[in-house]
Symmetry: C2
Subunit: 387 residues, 2 copies
DNA sequence: TCGCCTCTCTTGAACGGTCAAGTTGAGGCT
DNA sequence: AGCCTCAACTTGACCGTTCAAGAGAGGCGA
């Protein structure tokens, strides 16, 4: 038994309580001959009691098989959870396969670890949409969201009509939105998508390109893909895609290229294979005089699909066609993949910024992180007319 | 106001309570003129009250700005949290950059979504080791673990002397260990690492190889790397690495190759670049007659590093040297990377299995998932002696 | 020697839900 | 009519902590 030099605590733990029924703080107190508060302090505030008594309490707790203070009871009393929630637009499982999402997660995780907060991935069911209306849809919410014991929520890249936001607002949780949607009065972290898109389009225009294809991320969460007409692009609910599109088009228009003549190919998933399949027909167009000489892809993965499609069509990059991406999630691998011209954006930085923002307790306001145009080998001068 | 056909609930919510102090269930009850239980039922058990009354209660709740039932209070009463915890060996942030870990996470996330459970990533501080001793190290635990409001914990790939396990055991949480360490009485999900390693080594032996290098994942969490001597390999605390090593060596010994002559190069991180740097000196060895003809890498990433090192040394693959990996996390990318001979293991399947296991509430027992030897272009016949 | 302060520990009351066990009134069955 | 059942709601206790306030002992300066 531990040597106890403090006041004589007569009853030492061996009074066998049934180990089956989970011991509580009060059981430990009883067995150790102290008050329940003292036991609580032994765990949470060591400076509030003498070292020998603390040792005695801890030993008693161990002997009783006490599992430690219950997180639920603690949270109930203190109002804090020591965790923050994360909601993804996509199926949570899919997010783990997207490098932009995992890099973002990495940043979030770093910042969380620094402040010793846990990270609750909220398992949203897919296919929930706004406008289901009933009272319960917002106050009841999805069970995953309603049960989430968190001090705040980060929302990553949601469609502007997503049903996820209302329940969060209803629960009055501090909220930070990353990437999209931008909402008045809601803290935001993201980049200048339109500006970055404009810059990369201007890069291509500066190289002499005049015939483009835009390879777009999904514009709405409805799963449609393929050529997007004007109505569809105008009704986009994914603001990031809409902003990049606007950026591309703005640059083109300013250079005298009519955006209406530039096809927009929408990919429902940020996926190389699918991008290749959807783009292939456009590149396979026979005559070099009508074929696009540059592909504006909204992500590096889509860009790699474009590269693949171009090669399959026998086109040289950047000789026949230039391809630019977005994100700079280059596989730093064996270095064999074609280095992409792209927009570098701070994925992990967004994660860190989002966590900081949540801690700062400032409501509203946007934090716009810097991006950088990175020119590599996948873009080059437009082929000369005669070629 | 809502039309209420039920009993006459006189007081309708407009009696303005201060919106500042968060409304509770009882405030809503008072305002709606019903009992607190009825309000509770309105949220959690709609079948327990009439539809019109429920609508009235919900409307009142909304008017008061009630944030919905508190997760903490609910958990305290019910004893359930609707979430399960995940603990990683590495820094949590690092895990998101490792494809095996993200695929595993993907499986976990899928299974969680199916059972509407949230996923709590527990932010362990790095560098905690067993043997710090004090009572508090296990019962107090890291704050992240102590505060984790979860119904069970999945532990991914921990060193056998990791300090993470004791606090979990102390909290009496249901526990499933994935990959390592195997502990008596603790549920386990993993693969037959030794058998799979033996199989892939036998594949190379069957191709005539006799001179090998082993490119090992870290053997201990102490960050040491480079050539591992017998003492170090014998004292490995990462059981997976130890098992694969045993598998390789077993196959070699059985084929008459003395394992003691086979160098083991340990990489502290599962990282291509580092692997290349560490392996380069061994492959740069001048004479073809002493140079290894095959590299046994414990992961695909290490294997890619080996490929890179070999190419840098001017060696053809598999002409001069064969390289095999482990994991089969092939970049399904543009398809330009060299296709690796490897062991396919079900990363996502491990995640799903772990979640199932946690739900099954069976204590102990190992679930060993199948692996498959996948022969691709990175391995071939050993160069003939004269070459 | 007294008063006051500090250190250490105790007491009792929340925190905000859920659950088990009533209570009531309406309706069905004999 | 009388009895039983059932739906619809209420009552009171309880989950296991933390916190504010207080009490007793010992030390120290005045």
């Amino acid at each position: 038994m531990d040597e106890v030099t403090g006041p004589a605590h007569g009853a030492t733990a061996t009074a066998a309580l049934p180990v089956s029924a989970r011991a509580t703080l009060r059981d430990v107190a009883r067995a150790a001959g102290v008050s329940h508060t003292t036991v609580s302090n032994a765990f949470a505030r060591p400076d509030q009691l003498s070292a020998p008594l603390r040792a005695h309490v801890l030993a008693t707790a161990r002997a009783l098989g006490y599992a430690g203070p219950s997180p639920a009871a603690r949270s109930l009393r203190t109002g804090r959870h020591g965790a923050l929630g994360l909601v993804f637009s996509e199926d949570l499982p899919y997010a783990f396969s997207d490098p932009t999402a995992t890099q973002f997660l990495q940043g979030v995780a770093e910042a969380c670890r620094e402040r010793a907060a846990n990270l609750l991935l909220i398992a949203t069911r897919t296919g929930e949409r706004a406008g289901d209306g009933g009272d319960d849809s917002t106050l009841g919410g999805s069970p995953a969201l309603r049960d989430a014991a968190v001090d705040g929520v980060i929302v990553y890249s949601l469609a502007s009509d997503s049903a996820m936001l209302d329940p969060i607002a209803a629960r009055r949780l501090p909220l930070v939105v990353v990437d999209q949607p931008r909402l008045p009065g809601v803290a935001f972290v993201g980049i200048d998508d339109e500006g970055a898109a404009r810059a990369i389009a201007e890069h291509l225009l500066g190289l002499g390109h005049r015939r483009f294809v835009i390879l777009s991320l999904k514009l709405c969460p409805d799963g449609r893909e393929g050529i997007a007409d004007a109505r569809r692009t105008a009704g986009a609910t994914y603001e990031v895609a809409a902003a990049r599109l606007a950026g591309y088009r703005g640059a083109l228009a300013a250079a005298g290229v009519d955006p209406a003549t530039v096809p927009v190919v929408e990919c429902a998933r940020n996926d190389e294979r699918r991008a290749r399949e959807l783009l292939a027909p456009l590149l396979a167009t026979a005559r070099p005089t009508t074929r696009p000489t540059a592909v504006l892809a909204m992500s590096d993965r889509l860009a790699l699909g474009a590269v693949s499609a171009a090669r399959a069509a026998g086109l040289a990059i950047p000789g026949d066609v230039s391809v630019v991406g977005f994100d700079d999630v280059a596989v730093d691998g064996a270095g064999e993949a074609l280095p992409l011209t792209t927009v570098r954006q701070p994925h992990a930085g967004k994660g860190r910024a989002a966590v900081e923002r949540l801690g700062a307790a400032t409501t509203g306001g946007a934090r716009v992180l810097a991006t950088e145009l990175v020119v590599r080998a996948s873009s080059g001068p437009a082929p000369t007319a005669g070629r």
